[in-house]
Amino acid sequence: MPASSLMTQPPVPSKPQSEPPQVELPARKRPITSVGAAGTGASGSQYPVIEAIKRGETPEPRRHESVMGVPAILEVKDFQLWYGQNKALHGISMPIADGKITSIIGPSGCGKSTLLRSVNRLNDLVDGVRTAGSISLRGEDVYARGVDVISLRKRLGMVFQKPNPFPMSIFENVVYALRISGERNKAVLEHACEKALRQSALWDEVKDRLRGSAMGLSGGQQQRLCIARAIVCEPQVLLLDEPCSALDPIATLRIEELILEIGQRYTVLIVTHNMQQAARVSDYTAFMYLGRLVEYGRTADIFQLPRLRETEDYVTGRFG
């Protein structure tokens, strides 16, 4: 993990004042029973599921009924991934709700970014990556033989941890996805540019300097530019890989507002280190640990009525 992960460590009880407001977590009202994975003998342990995972097992995740019934745009089925000899994802199965915002949380190295990058097959670029299982986008397995990765990626937008505007003008950054598809019509490009910039709440700030270099923007503006660039082709799913981890608290807040707004139009899958962020922006939350899905349900349930002590203690910052 890059140095920026320092900013997004799981929250500690006392945050600096400039941090976005904390989500109120209700006091524990009912006792939680942590059900150990089948076959584990460690009955006296506080976190039987985590310990089973640490032993190398893959316990059945707690998937809430509330998330299993929804119409899914992405269906991850028994997905596994290896970096060379290292297994990074162990049989992940989860639907991603159509038109909703789903967040994936978990400690560093839990595979959440890997899972996200598996959706648009960006992991293909890494040497020695192997996969098994499937990820289906609207019923089509993206790992099937003969899948056109280029056109798959055109149907998905992605925003990265570190803002990465290209070394060109703001305008050219936004319309990049159209340019590479061969769009030359100036009116079309300009219309798309304005629309995407308005949707990403950047239009008013840059409308007079569209031809200026994107490198002159602030970090938060650059990240909103990257969001505009990712949504210019109206992607079926918008993938956000810790989009705020390199930003200051105020820029973070703006991006979060933006994610909520964009979530009304697009399906969003967001990976975040920041539990409060997941609680604030998402409809559904998945908790991952060491390459396994641990618990998955509606965000409100994950944060207020989790079924595992592991999840509860993680989202409240007592573990992880």
């Binding site: 670029l125 798959l152 290209f166 490198m215 990712a230």
Partner: protein, 294 residues
């Protein structure tokens, strides 16, 4: 007491080392200044409007100017760049952007490094064997030296330099540019030519200019290829003049007036290289400004 003696030794040693380093630097700078100063001292007196505009007269007492050689060098460098820059840049892209799929990349990089260090006289002989001898056989003519052969030899020197600097500069472009572009559905070629190469433009341009400066000063590769000429010609199919060749001819000849012209020629050549290097600095500085946040 012993403590202060150790302290004294430390300080003395430090001062001596500083003095040696400063002396080395001063020596190098003064040698450079001496050479340039001497050149200017002798060269300027021979430098004239006639030198820049006139062609050789054939009269050893009043030898005219070097217009033909200045033009020749510019045309040779331009021709060599026309061939060498595209090939060098493409090879650099290959080395940087397609490293893992093909096992040839490692050996290729090694060969490029070796080629960069090949003595230029070797390149001259190679150019003679490849471009001069075959042409003379086909055309049945005795003189088949040409500007084309000279430019080809210079391009041969240029290609590995451009390839290696291009590779290094492309490697400096952050990985997240490439990922960002690919994630939007760009092909690898689109990513390279629209994002990576523009991102490294300043660096790549610097490498190209450096290579141009290097070949502008080469003599050996031209000796048996372009051969040199005392005529003003812009036709590279003929034996072709260059500043370096003309300087060599005049400087090694017996006539004092021609020797004076050689000095002026060196001055002009240095001035040309100075301008090229200055442009490199300007490009690099602009590049540094536009790369903020990269």
């Amino acid at each position: 007491m012993t403590g202060s003696f150790a302290e004294f030794r430390r300080r003395t040693f430090s001062s001596i080392m500083f003095g040696l380093c400063a002396g080395g630097a001063a020596l190098i700078i003064s040698i450079l200044l001496l050479v340039i100063g001497y050149l200017v001292w002798i060269g300027v007196s021979s430098l004239s409007w006639e030198f820049l505009t006139a062609v050789p007269t054939g009269d050893v007492a009043n030898p005219g100017g070097m217009r033909h050689a200045i033009d020749g060098t510019i045309i040779l460098v331009a021709l060599a760049s026309l061939v060498g820059v595209p090939i060098g840049v493409l090879a650099g892209i290959y080395l940087s952007e397609y490293p893992t799929e093909y096992a040839v990349t490692g050996p290729l990089r090694f060969i490029a490094d070796v080629l960069t260090g090949v003595p230029s006289i070797v390149v001259g002989i190679l150019g003679y064997e490849l471009f001069v001898v075959p042409v003379s056989r086909w055309t049945q003519s005795t003189i088949s030296y040409s500007g084309y052969a000279g430019a080809a030899a210079l391009a041969f020197i240029m290609i590995p330099i451009v390839a290696r600097t291009t590779e290094e500069m492309l490697r400096l472009v952050p990985k997240n540019y490439r990922e960002g572009s690919l994630a939007l559905g760009a092909t690898r070629a689109q990513t390279i030519f629209r994002v990576v190469l523009p991102g490294a433009f300043g660096g790549v341009a610097t490498g190209i200019m450096l290579a141009m400066g290097r070949i502008a000063g080469e003599t050996a590769p031209l000796l048996f290829t372009a051969l040199g000429s005392r005529l003003l010609t812009h036709n590279p199919a003929e034996p072709f003049p260059s500043l370096t060749l003309q300087i060599y001819t005049y400087a090694t000849g017996p006539y004092p007036e021609q020797k004076r012209l050689a000095w002026a020629g060196i001055l002009v050549l240095l001035a040309m290289l100075f301008v090229v290097n200055l442009s490199i600095r300007l490009i690099a500085a602009r590049h540094a400004r536009t790369r903020v946040g990269a």
